[in-house]
């Protein structure tokens, strides 16, 4: 396993129009520490898969460096990079048995048969594949195929990193959980450096210790799942992470302090006080989970009106309105109210983030 570093990496795809090319990724700097579970999260088309293919050498970047343990590998061929890659659609060698599938990368590299047998045995044990060992791979279900292709990746002891490209896309919801648990188990057991690409925040946050969020070919924020949830560095992250995303409330900074644009909402002094030197567009960000909501009137709380209620099992999502401001609030399921009812809302200071010109203002 190794520490993987991307240094001012860029990649352009040749455009269909002559002479023009477009950036898939631009000036990218990411470090994945040895033996960690990482996720690369971002909307479709933001360059995630391109990055994986650059790490494994299937694509040669147009600029920048890829480093394995500090050594530049830009010109190293794919087969010599010792990368394991699990693709979106499970790839198995149909005509081979499960065991031969696992042994394939070892045999290709000329390991002796005794070693091949013992190593594939270990991996089958680890992945619970023993009872499928002799089955033709084409008869497996998609989840099993995906496990086999993971197994092919980790069977080599010299594997530098395991790259997973949306590996759960075609897996049944029931089996998804099981497969994700297995991935996590394998990662911990073998202390693998794993990079998991997905556009599903839930998968990323539950799998990884460290999540990198990308947008339009650039890194937006790189943090622990908790950090991303509590302190999103931009409104984009705030909105992208969480379900529903973070409430963003536009504000104005004037002589009287911070005021909500187009609404007489009251902002606690402890938040408003941090804004002395801020200029440009200012926004307050608060997650629906942290919005305190009451059906009784409370002093210094803001009055909103309920626009809609959405039941989501153990909780409800309320859409609240005050003037031109609309926010969402997450409340317990036994919160009794109906559309049009007034509610009183408070934004706890420590859970409210302040953004100026699209960047988090740290106190």
């Amino acid at each position: 396993m190794a520490r993987i570093e991307l240094k001012s990496l860029e990649h352009r795809y040749a455009s269909s129009r002559k002479g023009k090319s477009s950036f898939a990724i631009e000036d990218l700097n990411i470090i994945w520490e040895d033996g960690t579970a990482n996720a690369l999260l971002g909307p479709s088309g933001c360059g995630k898969t391109t990055i994986l293919n650059i790490i494994s050498g299937l694509i040669k970047p147009t600029g920048g460096e890829v480093l394995f343990d500090g050594v530049e590998v830009n010109n190293r061929a794919t087969r010599n990079r010792h990368i394991a890659q699990v693709f979106q659609f499970p790839v198995v060698y149909d005509t081979m048995s499960v065991m031969d599938n696992l042994a394939f990368p070892l045999r290709n590299r000329g390991h002796d048969e005794k070693e091949v047998q013992s190593r594939t045995g270990e991996i089958m044990e680890l992945l619970d594949l023993n009872k499928l060992a002799d089955m033709k791979a084409e008869r497996l279900n998609p989840a099993e195929k995906q496990i086999v292709s993971l197994g092919r990746g980790i069977v080599r002891k010299d594997t530098v990193a395991v790259l997973l490209d949306e590996p759960l896309t075609v897996i049944d919801p029931v089996l998804k959980l099981d497969l994700r648990r297995k991935l996590r188990l394998v990662q911990r057991e073998l202390k693998l450096t794993m990079i998991y690409v997905t556009h599903d925040q839930h998968e990323a946050l539950t799998f990884a210790d460290h999540v990198t969020i990308m947008k339009d070919g650039a890194v937006v924020q790189s943090d622990t799942p908790e950090g991303l949830f509590l302190k999103p560095s931009t409104p984009f992250v705030g909105y992208f992470i969480g379900s529903p995303g973070m409430n963003m409330i536009p504000c104005e900074n004037n002589s009287a302090g911070l005021e909500v644009t187009g609404s007489p909402l009251f902002i606690p002094k402890s938040i408003g006080g941090k804004t002395d030197n801020l200029e440009g567009s200012i926004e307050l960000g608060i997650r629906p989970e942290f919005v305190e909501t009451s059906i009784k009137e409370l002093p210094d709380w803001n009055r909103f009106e309920i626009r809609s209620l959405d039941h989501a099992g153990a909780y409800q999502i309320l859409t609240l309105e005050s003037g031109s401001i609309r926010i969402k609030s997450r409340v317990e399921d036994h919160f009794v109210s109906k559309e049009g009812d007034p509610v009183w809302v408070n934004f706890p200071t420590d859970k409210t983030n302040l953004y100026a010109n699209g960047k988090l203002v740290t106190p």
């Binding site: 299937l58 794919t78 087969r79 890659q85 060698y93 005509t95 394939f104």
Partner: protein
């Protein structure tokens, strides 16, 4: 309304019975009679079948036919796949290559026969000319093996493009990730072909194999126009044999050999299909 499905099947069944069932019944009926022009057919039971089976000419034609079809498959399938692998995958040359390859398929059978007859004519043909430069005396109408090889060559020229087109379509349908995975797994070019490309081509190649087997088993117009089945019986394949008998107005005999011929085609195709399409090994736990 349990009969409803039959109602919908009726038009097809009627058409099929006119085009296949009725003629087949007629042929079976012929095959059970001895028929002479002008006289009443005489019922002879399976006598014609016994005669055909014991006829060395029939056996020769069948043996020749099997050899021919086997060689055709052994040449056309690998070459077809090979050419498909060499074709460009994208860009402006794709259309051009496919059109060039498709040309032999567009030429009517009898034109193919006539064109190749001109090519191989021992006095004016280009093939004898070229071969004589290498010191080989080629003569399609005198040398039995020359004649057989020529028919083989014509068939390969005519039908390999079909295999190419099928294989090419099959290749295009293989997702790129399979090749990427093979690269990541460190597979050699040969292993990639053996374990990725070939298994993924199996269904189209099955189709190609079956089509080419059945078609080559029915080869008729090429030997008819090029060699007339000769020299001797060197290129008298099954269809030619049956046609000769029918032309000689031995209708009962021709009918019996047709039925045997049909039976052989069906049985061989079935065996081939079973062999290629056998279910994957290993049981689900």
């Amino acid at each position: 309304m349990r009969q409803r499905p039959w109602l919908f099947l009726l038009p097809t069944l009627i058409l099929m019975s006119i085009s296949a069932f009725v003629p087949l019944m007629a042929v079976i009926n012929y095959s059970l009679h001895t028929i002479f022009a002008g006289s009443t057919p005489e019922y002879v039971g399976l006598q014609n079948y016994t005669d055909v089976m014991g006829d060395p000419q029939f056996r020769g034609a069948l043996r020749r036919q099997l050899t021919f079809s086997l060689i055709v498959l052994l040449i056309e399938i690998p070459i077809g796949v090979g050419i498909a692998l060499c074709l460009p995958r994208k860009g402006p040359t794709v259309g051009l290559s496919l059109v060039l390859l498709g040309i032999p398929l567009l030429i009517p059978y009898n034109v193919v026969g006539i064109v190749w007859r001109l090519f191989t004519q021992s006095d004016i043909g280009v093939i004898p000319r070229v071969l004589s430069m290498f010191g080989y005396k080629y003569n399609v109408s005198l040398d039995a093996s020359d004649a057989f090889m020529t028919i083989l060559l014509v068939d390969v020229w005519h039908w390999t493009p079909l295999v190419v087109l099928l294989a090419y379509a099959g290749l295009q349908a293989i997702p790129q990730t399979f090749y990427q995975a093979a690269e990541v797994d460190g597979a050699s070019t040969w292993k990639t072909f053996r374990y990725v490309t070939l298994p993924k081509l199996r269904s189209v190649l099955t189709l190609g194999l079956l089509i080419r087997f059945m078609d080559s088993f029915k080869v008729y117009s090429e030997p008819l126009l090029l060699t007339g089945g000769g020299p001797g019986n060197a290129t008298t394949f099954m269809s030619l044999f049956v046609a000769r008998k029918a032309e000689a107005y031995e209708l009962g005999y021709a009918g019996a050999s047709s039925i045997i011929y049909l039976y052989v085609v069906i049985v061989m195709s079935y065996i081939l299909f079973q062999f290629i399409n056998r279910p994957p090994e290993g049981k689900r736990a």
